[in-house]
């Protein structure tokens, strides 16, 4: 098989003559650069794994796969299903349902739900245990909507040094949607929480093959009844105005604005009022962070048993450059729009700054429409690379509580809470035949 490199047929050359004219300046394009221009054969596939260094890519490195009700997404694992959203889907503030990332813990996840049988139960330490079908939720309660970011606690885990075991997410274990459903407090009021109650526990339809009493058998999460996040919590039956894909929690999922997704129970079926703190594996052992600033620690301190942990809760402030994504060169002198998203679990993003020298000098970006405190906020900034060269674009967000993204890494054994300033190299090429 002979590989065609840069053959231009005479017919094509003549056809092109009229359009191109005779601008001799362009003739300086060298054969070497020409060979780089379209190298379909030389295309380099991604690694099959990254490490022990940090994953250098924006997304994780798995292949694209198609799962039910989904666009091609990046595979982490197939049983249970874990899929990552490709970067380009974050060009819009609301992440399409079909492209929304997927993360289940236990392998026996629902393939089908029969709404003739399905019930959402509110039970435990209540005056009147309740069982609502979907029609009850739609008709008996005033719908409430909230735009909120759902982000996996381990989003960007593949950035950690040293690497930690777990889902090796790039940055795409997050998404933003307009969630519509019933306020959790209204459901609790309907059942009547008894005095002396402490927590509310959530469980979905997923189960695992592990033995009873182990985290590999049931997945349950709890929050204190006094937690103000519950006042904003919604049991959602609509995601961006459509029923939820089953992989994202059909028929209803919990939405806890500002909190990491571990609390956003999918295919929610049981709301349980507890009198004692939940000590199941997923609260007592998993999803815990060091009780330190930014939840960061060292492998040495973990080994020495020095690290006191607390359950993970709100998401630290983050921002991302989405476009341009570095997949193509930009001609020097050509103005482009840097654009991306930012969010914080502590409140609305009030500032996004952009740097083109890796974080030495910063300029404020223009913020997009405000969809609420817990939504993605889009931002953009005009940028012109003046001369050919490599530029490192960095983005830094600040939220209304004054939290600013730092440029220091995070490390903890779970691989949680990564929110370091993101950097993206962009290459500007020659646009004028070498003269500058």
């Amino acid at each position: 098989m002979e590989r065609k490199t840069h053959s231009v047929s005479r017919r094509n050359a003549l056809k092109f003559l009229g359009a191109a004219g005779s601008s001799l300046a362009l003739a300086n394009w060298t054969a070497g650069e020409r060979a780089l221009a379209h190298s379909t054969d030389g295309a380099k596939p991604l690694e099959t794994f990254t490490g022990p260094g940090a994953n250098p890519h924006w997304n994780s490195i798995g292949p694209y796969v198609v799962e039910p009700q989904k666009a091609p997404l990046i595979l982490l694992t197939d049983r249970p299903v874990q899929l990552e959203t490709p970067r380009h889907y974050f060009r819009t503030v609301f992440t399409p349902n079909q492209a929304f990332y997927v993360r289940w813990h236990l392998a026996e996840i629902p393939n089908a739900v029969d709404l003739a049988e399905w019930k959402l139960r509110v039970e435990g330490n209540v005056n009147k245990p309740m069982a609502f079908n979907l029609s009850d939720l739609l008709q008996k309660f005033q719908p409430a909507s909230v735009a909120a970011v759902n982000q996996c606690s381990g989003n960007s885990r593949s950035r950690l040094q040293p690497r930690v075991p777990g889902g090796q997410w790039g940055n795409g274990a997050m998404g933003n949607a307009m969630w519509t459903g019933v306020r959790l407090r209204e459901l609790l009021d309907a059942a009547g929480v008894k005095t002396g109650s402490l927590q509310v526990q959530f469980e979905g339809l997923d189960t695992g093959a592990g033995p009873k009493g182990f985290g590999s058998n049931r997945f349950m999460k709890s929050l204190d009844l006094t937690n103000t996040a519950l006042d904003e919590t919604v049991v959602a039956y609509l995601m961006n105005g459509e029923p939820l894909p089953i992989l994202n929690g059909f028929p209803v999922r919990l939405v806890v604005p500002g909190y990491f997704a571990t609390y956003w129970t999918k295919s929610l079926c049981c709301i349980r009022i507890l009198e004692a703190p939940d000590d199941n594996f997923w609260m007592k052992t998993a999803y815990r962070i060091p009780d330190t600033p930014r939840g960061t620690t060292t492998p040495e301190d973990v080994k020495a048993g020095k690290v006191k942990t607390i359950p993970i809760e709100r998401m630290p402030v983050r921002s991302f450059l989405i476009s341009p994504d570095g997949s193509s060169k930009i001609p020097a002198g050509l103005g482009v729009t840097l654009g991306g998203i930012a969010f914080s679990g502590y409140g609305r993003v009030v500032k996004v700054e952009v740097s083109d020298d890796g974080g030495s000098h910063w300029k404020a970006a223009e913020l997009g429409e405000d969809h609420g405190a817990y939504s993605f906020r889009s931002w953009q900034a005009a940028w012109t690379p003046k001369a050919p060269g490599k530029y490192v674009i960095a983005t830094r967000a600040t939220d209304e509580k004054g939290n600013v993204q730092p440029d220091e890494p995070v490390w903890n054994a779970g691989g949680y809470l990564w929110n370091r300033i993101e950097k993206q190299e962009l290459v500007a090429g020659n646009a004028n035949g070498g003269a500058q």
Partner: protein, 138 residues
């Protein structure tokens, strides 16, 4: 005289064509396709639905990876796959031997995996022989 003028004109046209061809050649490249076959993902027809209360998304596809050949592969495949696909193994970055040992212990003690002790040792040794920074292959 007329003949010579024609010759000169022809020569000029020929020279211009060659020059123009050269310029175009330097400006662009076209008609080049790789010999490698691209990957494709088959599309599926829309499902047909009944009007009952059943909402069925069908089965979830498996994407079972090839584990590295070696002693202990069978044990790893059968025991690990009780709860999760072996893609969990290949998804990990290369992990130090001690981390693999801790992972197998975690599966048994924390998650209750019923793996006999001798088998657990074999699985640990297998993971340590193929999935550490020193020995993992792309």
């Amino acid at each position: 005289m007329i003949k010579e003028r024609w010759k000169l004109a022809l020569l000029l046209v020929a020279a211009a064509t060659v020059l123009a061809g050269g310029i175009v050649y330097a400006q662009m490249r076209s008609g080049s396709y790789g010999s490698r076959n691209g990957e494709s993902i088959a599309r599926e027809a829309a499902p047909e639905f009944g009007v009952d209360g059943k909402y069925d998304a069908g089965s979830y596809p498996s994407f079972t990876p090839e584990l590295a050949e070696g002693d202990g592969k069978q044990e790893a495949q059968s025991f690990c796959a009780t709860c999760h696909s072996t893609r969990y193994i290949v998804m990990q970055p290369p992990l130090p031997a001690a981390t693999w040992e801790a992972e197998v212990i975690k599966m048994i003690k924390t998650y209750g995996a019923p793996i006999p002790e001798a088998t657990a040792k074999k699985i640990t040794a297998y993971l340590q022989a193929h999935y550490t920074p020193e020995n993992r292959k792309q």
